[in-house]
């Protein structure tokens, strides 16, 4: 195509400027700061791998609570929410348009609440006295005898966080996968039937999933992002950072704790880098699973 050779760059420049400034630079800066000791007032001084070594050897809270919590939360909410989204997307695709749209709206709605405004409502539902909704229902059913202080009880905080995060996990990825199922070429199913596909399950494994790998991957990436974005929920639910006895403490909260409460920015940056690496690792695994090579 003819035309101005510089024009693609002109079209890209505004986006790239802001992209660089608020996405690339912060990531690079995090990597740089993670090798320094920085308290926001004095200039950062280089400390090599000290922050990472401290993270692995000194930070008992990290090793004892934050890391296991994060892994548990991420493993259940990530793949769990993802499988749930896919199943719902697949089931919905078997319905006519009107009921499908209504159900899709209901499932998608929680993700629009973005957790934040909702934290308030969860606090009411899980309030600790006997007129709290969760307590009242369970007591009426005879499951428990006395009210449980859900959001301060170290045994339940993480469980509630996981339930809330799963509840709001049917987001963009869910819509993408639903649309993926709907757009599969119908003749593939007919061909499959002739080739000896016997039931819906086989159809799912041999036709549906392989035909929508790109959407599956997009859904997976969105699930990962959603999972780690939801990481702040514990602090919102319990109303404190750190959460009681660190029971609901995830990496995101730990970063905030060190960065904005203790002002150990270098150490917080090292935590950020570790978190980004974990996210990248999850995404790489998804790519291995769904890449079309």
């Amino acid at each position: 195509m003819k035309g101005n050779k510089k024009s693609p760059y002109l079209f890209l420049a505004p986006y790239l400027t802001l992209f660089t400034l608020f996405i690339v630079v912060p990531v690079v800066m995090a990597i740089f700061l993670s090798f320094t000791n920085f308290n926001t007032i004095e200039t950062p001084n280089f400390v090599g791998f000290m922050n990472y070594i401290n993270l692995l050897t000194q930070d008992e809270i990290f090793m004892q609570y934050v890391l296991p919590n994060t892994i548990l939360f991420a493993v259940i909410v990530g793949p769990g929410g993802y499988i749930l989204s896919f199943l719902l997307a697949w089931v919905l695709a078997q319905l006519p348009k009107l009921p499908r749209t209504v159900f899709a709206l209901i499932f998608y709605s929680p993700s629009m609440t973005a957790g934040i405004a909702m934290a308030v409502v969860w606090r009411v539902i899980f309030s600790g006295n006997q007129s709290g909704y969760a307590n009242h229902i369970l007591m009426t059913l005879g499951v428990i005898n006395e009210p449980i202080i859900w959001l301060q009880d170290t045994r339940y905080i993480l469980v509630i966080m996981i339930v809330v995060a799963l509840w709001s996990s049917m987001g963009v990825g869910f819509l993408a996968m639903m649309s993926g199922v709907l757009n599969i070429d119908q003749t593939l199913y007919e061909a499959g039937a002739i080739d000896g596909i016997k039931n819906r399950f086989q159809e799912l494994i041999y036709i549906t999933i392989p035909s929508m790998k790109p959407q599956m991957l997009f859904g997976a990436v969105m699930a990962i992002v959603g999972t780690f974005n939801a990481g702040a929920i514990g602090v919102q639910l319990t109303g404190a950072n750190p959460t009681p006895s660190y029971a609901g403490q995830l990496m995101v909260n730990h970063i905030e704790d060190y960065g904005f409460i203790r002002f150990e920015m270098g150490y917080a940056a090292a935590l950020s880098v570790v978190l980004l690496l974990i996210i990248y690792l999850f995404a790489t695994i998804s790519k291995k699973l769904f890449s079309e090579a």
Binding site: M1, G3, N4, P8, P14, L18, L21, F22, I23, V24, V25, P26, V27, A30, L88, V91, A93, Q94, L95, P96, F103, F107, P110, M112, T113, A114, I116, A117, V120, V121, R123, V124, I125, S127, Q130, S131, G132, Y133, W167, V172, S179, Y189, G192, R200, K213, P214, Q215, L217, M222, I224, V225, A232, G239, I255, G259, F260, A269, S272, L275, L276
Partner: protein, 289 residues
């Protein structure tokens, strides 16, 4: 005998779909409960909020909670309308800028040949997994370094570049045939004219989708109010609503909190209901390879 038909996207109801409804209906009820709860709770008068045993549905709806909420804001010195204005203003600007920038960049990335294109696509795809709160500290430092702290710029600029928006728009432009653009070039159209007259009208569904995503991101965002502003009158509705969560007066607070959640949720819902068919259309091209 061969297995008959998948029944994907059927035209009408069939008995074989019943089992799906059996699974979906209870699940949908469970998913919808917290949202129905907000709508009921927001209109409960004080005695119903206090009621024991707690009741789910409201019986004598009232607007008391709405009044309490606006009074509470008044007491803190800043009228609720200020937060609403801030939120609306910031949201409109971010959505508009984000769409403008993503469509411009999407056009270049999809239809232009230039050096570094492959790498840029790769970088943007990687950035799909960008989780802003993971790097909140360097982002905060960036904002203070360029000196936009406590201004509207601090609300707007960090949120404008949205990798997901660009990705969806670029994928959508990919399926516009090159011949259309070539025809426009032969007619003597400039690059910008092609973008304005050919590309934009054809990608309305993708624009609508990116708009919804941007809206949700900005409208619900607290990071900018929390970290990049210091004066109370620069903060947004999302932030104010969230500070309500810290309210100690549990019972009265509950009703207001429900009102707050409702105010935050309803615009998202309306937008999605209106644009959902466009969203589904765009999502068909959301595949990541």
């Amino acid at each position: 005998m061969a297995f008959k038909s998948s029944g994907i996207n059927p035209q009408k109801f069939h008995v074989s779909q019943l089992k799906f409804y059996l699974f979906l209906v209870p699940f949908a009820i469970f998913m919808a409960l917290p949202i129905i709860f907000i709508f009921n709770h927001a209109f409960k008068p004080l005695d119903e909020l206090y009621a024991f045993p707690p009741r789910f549905f409201v019986s004598n709806p009232t607007l008391e909670n709405f009044q309490n909420l606006s009074q509470l804001a008044e007491q803190s010195g800043i009228p609720l309308s200020r937060y609403v204005f801030n939120s609306l203003f910031v949201t409109v600007i971010v959505v508009f800028l984000s769409l403008a920038l993503s469509t411009l960049a999407g056009y270049a990335l999809s239809k232009k040949q230039f050096r570094g294109k492959k790498m840029l696509l790769e970088v943007n795809n990687t950035a799909l997994m960008f989780v802003p709160i993971a790097v909140m500290i360097p982002r905060f430092l960036t904002v203070t370094t360029i000196g936009i702290e406590d201004t509207y710029f601090a609300h707007v600029l960090p949120l404008v570049a949205m990798p997901v928006g660009l990705f969806l728009i670029k994928q959508f432009i990919d399926q516009i045939p090159d011949s259309l653009i070539e025809a426009a070039v032969i007619d003597g159209a400039t690059d910008f004219k092609i973008y304005w007259r050919v590309i934009l009208p054809l990608i309305k569904p993708a624009i609508a989708t990116a708009a919804i995503l941007a809206f949700q991101l900005v409208w619900n965002d607290m990071e900018t109010s929390n970290l990049y502003t210091t004066s109370e009158n620069m903060r947004t509705l999302a932030f104010f609503m969230n500070t309500l969560a810290a309210q100690t007066n549990v019972v009265v607070g509950q009703g207001m909190a429900a009102v707050a959640s409702m105010i935050m949720f309803v615009p998202n819902l309306i937008l999605f209901v209106f644009l959902q068919s466009k969203v589904m259309n765009t999502m068909a091209h959301s595949g990541l390879k």
